[in-house]
Subunit: 204 residues, 2 copies
Amino acid sequence: MPKRNGEMVERILAVARDIVREDGPDNLTFDRVAARVGVSKQAIIYWFPNKARLVEALVRPALEAEAAAGKAALRADTTNAGHAIRAFVEALAAFHVSDLDRFRLMYVTPQIGQRPGRSGAMLTTLGRIHPATTEMYDALAERLVAAGRYGRVIDARRAATAIHTALLGLLLRMAMADTLDAPLRHRDHALIDALLGVLTPEAA
Amino acid sequence: MPKRNGEMVERILAVARDIVREDGPDNLTFDRVAARVGVSKQAIIYWFPNKARLVEALVRPALEAEAAAGKAALRADTTNAGHAIRAFVEALAAFHVSDLDRFRLMYVTPQIGQRPGRSGAMLTTLGRIHPATTEMYDALAERLVAAGRYGRVIDARRAATAIHTALLGLLLRMAMADTLDAPLRHRDHALIDALLGVLTPEAA
DNA sequence: CCTAACCCCTTACCAACGGTCAGGAGTATC
DNA sequence: GATACTCCTGACCGTTGGTAAGGGGTTAGG
C-alpha cells in the first residue's frame, strides 16, 4: 500500500511521540519506531536521515508553541513591566503544567545521543537555543529594558535567560518528583508563587 | 608492573578527566580510557563496573566542592538575608568561573548515556540531585525562611532550586558562547550583576 | 509500448558502544 | 604446596546509529 509523500512523516512523528511518552526518551530508537510503524528501519532513516533530525522535528513545534505563549503574554500587558514579567512567568508555567508530556518531550528528549554513546545533552537544550526561544528572550529583554531595569540589552538578555532557566529547573524537579508524588498540575500555584518569590523578593 | 590497590583508580580518573576536558564528554568511553591508561577495557570495568559509576566518581568531588562553597558563603554572613543571597550567588559564580573545565565536567558530562543510546540526561543533573547539593539547597532555604521571605519551607526550597538553576542556565549559555567568544572568566562581574538583577530587581 | 528517471523502501552490512563470561598470572595465606 | 584472593586479559555479545546497494512501482518521454 504505497503512501503519498508527507503522510509517512506524520505517521513516524506520531509513533515517535507515543514512544517517548509511553516508554521514555531512552527507548526512542530507529528500530522501535520502524517496528511500530510497520516498516523497516531504513524507511525511517529515509525521511529522517539521522536521529538529530528526528528529535528536532519532534521537539520544534513544542518549542515554537512555548515561545508563542511567552511572547503573547508579554504583548498582553504593555503598561507595567512588573506585571509583564509576572504574566510571562505565569503563562509559561501554565503552558507547561497543562501538558507535562510535552514538557518532558521538549526538555528531556533532546538529550538522547545521536550515535551510541553520544549526547547532545543539556547544551542542546539550554546552550544552543532554538531561534523561536531566542525571539522569546529578546521580547522579554525588551520589556526589562523598557522598564528601566537594565541599561544594557545584553544584561537584560541574560536576565531573560536566567528567568526562563529558573522556571525550567523548578518544573524539571517537580516533574521528576511527580513520578512518585501527586500530579504536578495540582501544584501549579505553589510553583508560580515560589518562582515569583524569587524574581520579586520584596513582594513575598 | 603490578600496581597496588587504589592507585589504578586514581590513574583512571585522571585519564577520564583529561579525556572529558580535551576531547569532550562524548568521547569518554571505556575503550578510550583503557587505551590511554595502557590496559584493556576490562581493567577499567573491573574498577568501575559500569559507566554510571565512572561518571559519578568523576563528578562527585566537584558537586561536593560546589556545595561546600555555597554553604560556606551562607555561613559567612548571618546578619542580613539579602546579603546572604548575594554572597551565595557571588560565591557560586566565582566558584564556577574560576574553573570552567570543572563546570563543564559537572553539568555536561553526567548526561552521557550509560548504555548505547541511553541517557540519564538533564534529569540526572537537575532532577535527582546529589545529596551534597540538596544540603546546599536546605541551607539556602533556611536562610530564606529566617529572613521571613517564605513562610513554608517547601517554598523556600523551591526558591533555592530556582536560584541555583538560574545561575547554572546563565553559566551554561555563557560557557557555550565561550567557544566563540571571549573567555568567560573576564565576564564574571557582568554575569553576577545580571543574575542579581533578576533576583533583586529593585536594586537594578 | 518500451525505456529512463525518480520516489519510496528493502535487505545486507558495518563500527562503536556498554557490558558479560571464563580464565589466567601473580601474590598472600594457611 | 594447595587454596584463595586480587587484578587483569581475550573472546564474545546485543543494541545502537548509520552506510551501501539495489529493487518495485509509478510517471514522463519518445
